[in-house]
Amino acid sequence: MKFADIIALAWRNLRQARLRTSLTVIGVIVGVSAIVTMVSFGLGLQNNLLRDALARIDLFTSITVMGPGADAMLAMRDRVSNSTSSDGGDDNGASNEDKSDGDASAKPEPSPPPVRMLDDAAIAELQGIDGVRYVLPNFSFSNYVRFEGRTRRAFIGGAPQSIDYNPRFKKFLAGHHFTAEGAREVVITERFISWVRSKKRINGDRRRRPGGPFQMAPTKSEEERKREATGILGKEIVLLTLREQDAAPSSVFGIPIINVSSNENGDTPSEFGEQYEESAYRVVGVLKAEDGFDINNFMETDMFIPLDQAKEFRNANRDPMSRIGELLAGDTGYQNAEVRVADVSEVERIKEDIKKRGFRAWSFTNQVEEVRRVFLIVNSALALIGGISLLVASFGISNTMIMSIRERTREIGVMKAIGGSDGEIMRIFFVEASLIGLAGGAMGVVGGWGIDRLANLLANRWILKQAGQAVRHIEFFSIPWYLSSGAILFAIVISLIAAIYPAMRAAKVDPIKALRYE
């Protein structure tokens, strides 16, 4: 018998018991819908965490290289000078900011391996590694700034004047980048704007500031944001620095000092003016906040000034402990540096290379893999829960088939008597089962999709409105092609398994017994 005829026969059999077939198919629909809904929720969650990050490929072409810091330098020095001691400085920062990578832990050591200093020579060396686009020493420092008569503490970063290669300095809401390395110009971030424009008290709770990994799109329209940013251009931000009591040469900074006494601002009492210096910067640009997942949020940077000037400010703004540390340990170099790799597939290789050179290096790729692995487990668990309802449906299929075989015993007997083989009879029932699986699977995917859409709509309408924010639409579910096709395939396979016993029973029908009675 041709396979097409077997399908036609199976189809005819299913149509004859329409109600029973429908009920059985509904069972499969429920099971597949459950699987699809569950897994699509897991995948949606995964996507929401990773999609924005993945979309920004620059996140994954970046390697962060960390310098040792003064404490670690001291610990290293202790170890060199006192190698008999098992652990020279066990409670200092060196062990706290231990490298998290296990590459050097092949032979257990009580102390971390020495970490190379991240100085200009090291930067140049990293720059020389094959496949590296650029190396940007990265540091920020906190400094009191005065803006529009209000003084607050801000995080200031240094930016190179040449920005061609750095994607961070390409999205300006208003204005432009520094005109020259020596220019006393500042580029502020949108975060700074929203901070200074908020009615909240200055030096208020930093946690209340907008931003964070799940940053919602700003409530203001793009035009409003632009207008606001343009309004700030040309304004002045004053950086306040403690005047060196021991008459440290202020000329080291190379920045002219504003005469404090001429300042007429009320909230900076002039009697203290002698103790700090002011450096005025003009706002030339406003950087646009990234939508979605913004890696730069970790930096919490409010503004950028030219790199060399930032270095000087940072040196001047060290707290006493850091200064002592530096005095003891010597120059500690940069806190960290960003290594930008040309090709994302080379990140791992270059990271290992950097580690071999004695630096601590960290990139995002392994974290993404980790998240993926966790979600694989989560999604499997969700699929399992959904799968239970499909398991229940499979018993329904078995039941339907056995009932159908009982009803059609005579028919099976006739088929055998006129030349149907056991295999052909069996195939008819297997095809019937897979048709049930296919129909249930396909409709189940549609059902799951429908549930997803409805749930998504309700979630966006209600739950997120409860948050009191007009936020952009969030997709909570994701049904990729492999989920829908996999679910249908799974439904067919389950149906076939459920049909094994009934089909074998059908094949074993004894035609003589089947045909004996009227």
């Binding site: 088929m415 006129i418 149907g420 083989s421």
Partner: protein
């Protein structure tokens, strides 16, 4: 065509010649239906042997046996055993489908076959819309669908009144006369056996008690 030899039941030895119309007579329980099932390849003997065309059926696999039922013998039952949800033509077509014929071939041939039993006009009727005699003629058309040499009829007129019975027997007789089919008729009706059979075998308690 060589002799079809059957050793069945209790030391039964029957030889059926080509184009014979042989009637197996016996009361119920005499073993006549069992003999026919053995002939038809629905059953296998616990001991002894069935030879068809000189070859034993014993070594045939389950699948080969189904092919034997498909194309070497055709079975006709007392209760017709048509599939009630299929039309006359679909019932005949089913036998052709098992032989692997294409849909268009089946269409044509099933109509031809129904024509041979005088039912081409009733092709699209379901069994329930047909009289008993018509149903039995459909089942004859189905039995000859794959042109078997032998037709095995188990009380084909048992559920029919005498005029319908004569009609059906006429068709069977015509099969023998015109197409040279070998007919094995199982019946308890002495009159019917005498009227059509070229040879009568009497069975009692699974033994041949008379022949001729």
């Amino acid at each position: 065509m060589k002799a079809e030899t059957v050793r069945a039941l209790a030391e039964v030895s029957v030889a059926v010649e080509p184009s014979e119309f042989i009637a197996i007579l016996g009361t119920s329980g005499s073993g006549k239906s069992t003999l026919l099932n053995l002939f038809g390849g629905l059953d296998r003997p616990t001991s002894g042997e069935i030879l068809f065309d000189g070859k034993s059926l014993a070594p045939l696999s389950s699948w080969e046996m189904s092919r034997y039922r498909l194309s070497r013998v055709g079975m006709i039952f007392q209760s017709f055993n048509l599939i009630p949800t299929m039309t006359a033509r679909e019932n005949v077509s089913l036998a052709l489908a098992f032989a692997g014929l294409s849909k268009s071939d089946r269409r044509r041939q099933s109509l031809d076959l129904l024509d041979r039993v005088g039912l081409s006009k009733r092709a699209d009727h379901h069994p329930s819309e047909l009289s008993g005699g018509e149903q039995q003629r459909v089942s004859i058309a189905r039995a000859i669908a794959n042109e078997p040499q032998v037709l095995l009829a188990d009380e084909p007129t048992g559920n029919l009144d005498s005029s319908r019975a004569a009609e059906v027997m006429g068709v069977l007789d015509e099969m023998r006369r015109r197409d040279g089919k070998t007919i094995v008729l199982v019946t308890h009706d002495q009159e019917l056996a005498d009227q059509f059979a070229t040879r009568v075998i009497r069975l009692k308690d699974g033994r041949v008690v008379g022949s001729g």
